[in-house]
């Protein structure tokens, strides 16, 4: 009874569409893949070139000041990073970190303006909200497939997938933060004759800053999780260690790589959170 028409060919249609995109925009994707890929390799090389001891010390000192001159976070960072070094995962850590850094920066660069647009226009909000819902509920692995089609394997598709997966919180929180600015403050800035951009930069964004920072914190965390998953399509870093131990059923090395990711996650999370509370 339910078979009144044959199977609708959604999968084929999407595949066709992806193929078409890949072909039609290869003039765009190829240079991105090459140029950006080179840039990514270059930046993770740069990070790896710095002696680990210097990075550990710098992170420790920054942690001390960022957490309001307390030793907890600093001690954790130094010991945690040393442990990763000790386990011989330093180079992979740097690769993961470079990926997270670049993809978060891109997410913020894309997400904040979209959030601002949403806060300014009801139509934009109505259109973008369901897209964000879609982007966040779709299983993260699915993004890897078109990413590979567009950009081949390696760092660049990883960043592409992470961009799609991790941008929504920044967009949402930027929108929310700006909409939460009290009407009286918005009226005040209008009543004194602000232009739209004066209002945005002098009143709305500063007032929304802590909300936006909360969104950015989430974006960074999501980037990290996506960057690990992206090792399935050849993104380098700690995720690759997890993946290979999974394939070889080595619980020990898998655990070590996992712990390293957790340490990195905690350090990044505390850093972004403390930056937020400090600036309030």
């Amino acid at each position: 009874m339910l078979d009144f028409i044959e199977k609708i060919r959604i999968a084929e249609a999407i595949e066709f569409f992806t193929d078409w995109l890949t072909d039609a925009f290869s003039f765009l994707f190829d240079p991105i893949k090459n140029q950006f890929g080179d840039f990514m390799d270059w930046s993770s090389d740069q990070l790896s070139a710095i002696p680990p001891i210097i990075i550990i010390l710098i992170v420790g000192i920054l942690a001390f000041f960022v957490s309001g001159k307390r030793f907890g976070l600093a001690a954790f960072s130094v010991i945690g990073l040393w442990l990763i070094y000790n386990q011989g995962l330093w180079e992979h850590l740097m690769e993961t970190f470079a990926l997270v850094l670049i993809s978060s920066l891109l997410s913020i660069l894309v997400g904040v303006p979209i959030g601002i647009l949403m806060s300014k226009s009801k139509t934009a909000e109505a259109i973008i909200t369901p897209i964000l819902d879609f982007m966040q509920t779709m299983p993260a692995f699915v993004y890897l497939i078109p990413a590979v089609a567009f950009f081949g394997i390696g760092m660049v598709p990883g960043i592409f997938a992470s961009l799609i997966f991790a941008t929504p919180p920044t967009v949402r929180f930027t929108n929310l933060g700006i909409r939460q600015v009290s009407t009286e403050l918005v009226e005040a800035s209008d009543a004194f004759g602000s232009t739209g951009s004066q209002k945005l930069f002098k009143v709305e964004l500063p007032m929304a800053k802590s909300t936006i920072m909360a969104g950015i914190n989430q974006t960074v965390m999501l980037s990290l999780s996506m960057v690990v998953i992206a090792s399935m399509i050849g993104a380098p870093g700690l995720g690759r260690d997890v993946l290979s131990s999974l394939q070889r059923a080595e619980a020990g090395t898998g655990f070590v790589a996992g712990i390293s990711i957790v340490i990195l996650a905690i350090i990044i999370d505390r850093f972004t959170q403390n930056l937020n509370t400090k600036r309030k």
Binding site: E184, A188, D190, A191, F192, G193, K202, P206
Partner: protein, 398 residues
């Protein structure tokens, strides 16, 4: 020559505004229009002129449309119909650029909840209007400092708003508005969020400032006492319409209709004013600490012929006359009890002026206002007469 001329200014909230306006013309009420069209009439054909240097008070209860009206003046809310003419330009129709220029140069606004920017210092808040106009840093902070000095906050310029009390925050709001040197000051319930004593101080201060500034002020309030205190003229609003415009006297003496009459009934002075409104802080001495000598000194200082005596907890004990005190000093009497008179004329703080009049008639000393045996204040004869005549220092906010 009026600074602002408002003609037929209306605001209808909702979709079908044309129909609502037509129904208004037919004399339908706000409620009928809401039922019939689903539109809410915010302001209905407001027409008035404000002269230069005048304090024009728009007063009404909540929901009367007064806050909407003030926002129509600087177009924070788009008018549905009518005009707001300032310097020959109809603000309701000008384009965005001209509107912005008028907001920057000619009109400033002070808000009920202060609307200070929490991420800026007091100085940066006061600079805001000038900063937006692109005035260079040095010049704008000089101007902002001047206007902060004017409201008495010169020492607080590097604090943040949350470090200041409500009254001080609103001074910053006022300074921010004044720094632009606008022709017109729109004050939307500017003092309503402050507690009564501070509110009265701010009213006094605004009046003081006004003597030197001579700004045109449009002041919104729901408080009739405030309106009577500071307004040169008052417009009373009800259901979006202005029901009467006049000087405080005109409104009190000749209410235009029942609504206004009911409104101002409460200020029929002899009926409504009570001891609380006209009492002064009493000069007292403490029977546990002071003797006739101190009593006499104190009376000399204040130029009075009698003084009230209380104990350490402000419980009223009686009064001492200057003559008796000086006698006692000559005779080296140390104890106040010997000359204390206890036939004190007392009233409660809710005693009306009518009744006070009866008491004050027969007594040589000021009347004591007492609650639970404690002395709250005194009422002197002059204050009663002045209050009945509708002048003098009457604390209507008490």
């Amino acid at each position: 020559m009026p600074v602002i001329k408002v003609e037929g200014l209306s605001k209808v909230f909702g979709k079908n505004t044309k129909e609502a306006l037509k129904l208004l013309d037919e004399g339908k009420s706000k409620e009928d229009i809401l039922k019939q069209t689903g539109n809410t009439v915010g302001v209905n054909r407001a027409t008035f002129e404000v002269e230069a240097g005048e304090v024009f008070v728009i007063m009404g209860l909540s929901g009367s449309g007064k806050s909407t009206l003030v926002r129509l003046l600087n177009r924070l809310i788009e008018p549905t119909e009518g005009s707001v003419i300032i310097d020959g330009e109809d603000l309701a129709k000008v384009n965005k650029d001209i509107l912005r220029r008028v907001r920057r140069e000619k009109m400033s606004m002070v808000f009920q909840k202060f609307a200070l920017f929490p991420h800026r210092t007091i100085l940066e808040n006061a600079e805001f209007g000038l900063e937006i106009q692109g005035v260079e840093k040095e010049k704008r902070s000089k101007k902002a400092k001047e206007s902060l000095e004017l409201v008495g906050l010169g020492d607080y310029i590097h604090q943040h708003p949350e470090q200041l009390s409500g009254g001080m925050q609103q001074r910053v709001g006022l300074a921010r508005a004044l720094a632009n040197d606008p022709d017109v000051l729109l004050m939307d319930e500017a003092f309503s969020a402050l507690d009564p004593l501070i509110r009265k101080d701010m009213q006094d201060e605004l009046l003081d400032l006004q003597v030197s500034m001579q700004k045109t002020i449009i002041f919104i309030t729901h408080d009739l006492d405030e309106a009577l205190r500071i307004g040169d003229r008052i417009a009373l609003m009800k259901d979006g319409s202005i029901v009467q415009i006049g000087t405080p006297e005109e409104i009190l003496v000749n209410p235009a209709n029942d609504y206004v009459e009911r409104f101002v009934e409460d200020v029929d002075r002899s009926k409504v004013l009570t001891a609380e409104h006209i009492m002064k802080r009493p000069e007292t001495i403490n029977i546990e600490k002071h003797g006739p000598r101190v009593a006499l000194e104190r009376m000399k200082e204040e130029g009075i012929s009698s003084i009230y005596v209380t104990d350490g907890k402000r419980n009223l004990k009686g009064y001492v006359l200057a003559d008796d005190a000086s006698e006692a000093r000559k005779n080296e009497v140390r104890d106040l009890n010997e000359i204390l008179k206890t036939d004190v004329p007392t009233v409660s703080k809710d005693t009306s002026m009518h009744d006070i009049f009866e008491v004050i008639h027969n007594t040589p000393v000021p009347i004591a206002v007492v609650e639970d045996g404690k002395l709250l204040g005194i009422v002197v004869r002059g204050a009663v007469i002045a209050a009945l005549a509708g002048e003098g220092e009457v604390n209507l906010n008490a």
